[in-house]
Amino acid sequence: MSQNGIGNSVGSGPSALALDPATTYKITALVVDDDAVTGMIHRRLLDSLGVKNEVVRNGKEAINVHRSGNPFDLILMDMEMPVMNGIEATRELRRMGIRSMIAGVSSCSGDREKQEFMEAGLDDFQEKPLTATKLVSILHKLNKKD
């Protein structure tokens, strides 16, 4: 605990943000991002909320992972990636019949690009970096969806 009342001690964690762990432990998520730092942060965010997750590095890998296994409840999709970007990947996943919640997460906030991304089939869009609060709001949406 903090010795001098400056603030909460390290590790008070986003689990305090009012999500029922019994629900989150059943959720699975796929992080699609070419940036290792972002992948690490998003992975840890999901871990801290008890959400089982995997990370892939581009849209093509996201497609492949779906071809070979079970779908995920949630996909966190970066926009700009090599090989296949988030817009193309989202379109393809929807074409494949994937009904998972897809949340676009991007540092590019150009309106036109965001529009195109949404139209590709996103359920939600968040500016990078993803925070615990933003993730919790996405997960709340997911609960409502089901």
Partner: protein, 164 residues
């Protein structure tokens, strides 16, 4: 004041100065919140990875700008990547969103990309130097921060978070 309290005060003051000078922002708090007993080195790991990636990007940028015939689209792509990578992580504020004092009007990143569009090699090289300088400044500040944290933990204290 006992030793642990002294170290803690030193750490709090130093962290506060980094926030004040916009080397760190709220995102850093978010990262600290993700650190706990089962992930005790999370912040250091993320920061180290960030510096590794950024160094690689900066070296690549340097190489592209050294070519006889410069591919400015490549330069622009790298700057864009650098901007994206730093904004995903709290270090973005000072680097690229340029909110130091009232003087700074444009961020280095925007300037850099303008020079790219103009195919202005001098401008690009100047911007690269600026970015490299800022980058090593931030790195040394964070190295100091982590050293202070290590000292505190070694002395039996715990790391408080600075509330912005």
């Amino acid at each position: 004041m006992d030793y642990v309290t002294q170290l803690q005060k030193q750490l709090v003051d130093y962290t506060a100065s980094l926030f004040h000078e916009k080397f760190l922002d709220e995102q850093f708090n978010q990262l600290q919140q993700l650190q706990d007993e089962s992930n005790p080195d999370f912040v250091v790991e993320v920061v180290s990875l960030f510096f590794e990636d950024s160094e690689r990007l900066l070296n690549e940028l340097g190489k592209v700008l050294e070519q006889q015939i410069i591919d400015y689209r490549k330069v622009d792509a790298h700057v864009h990547q650098l901007k994206g990578s730093s904004s995903r992580f709290s270090l973005g504020t000072r680097f690229f969103h340029g909110s130091i004092g009232a003087q700074r009007v444009q961020s280095v990143c925007i300037t850099f990309r303008n020079y790219c569009e103009e195919k202005n090699i001098e401008g690009c090289l100047k911007c690269l130097q600026q970015v490299k300088h800022e980058y090593s400044l931030v790195k040394s500040k964070l190295d100091t921060l982590f050293k202070l944290e290590k000292q505190l933990v070694a002395a039996g204290g715990s790391i408080p978070t600075y509330v912005v």
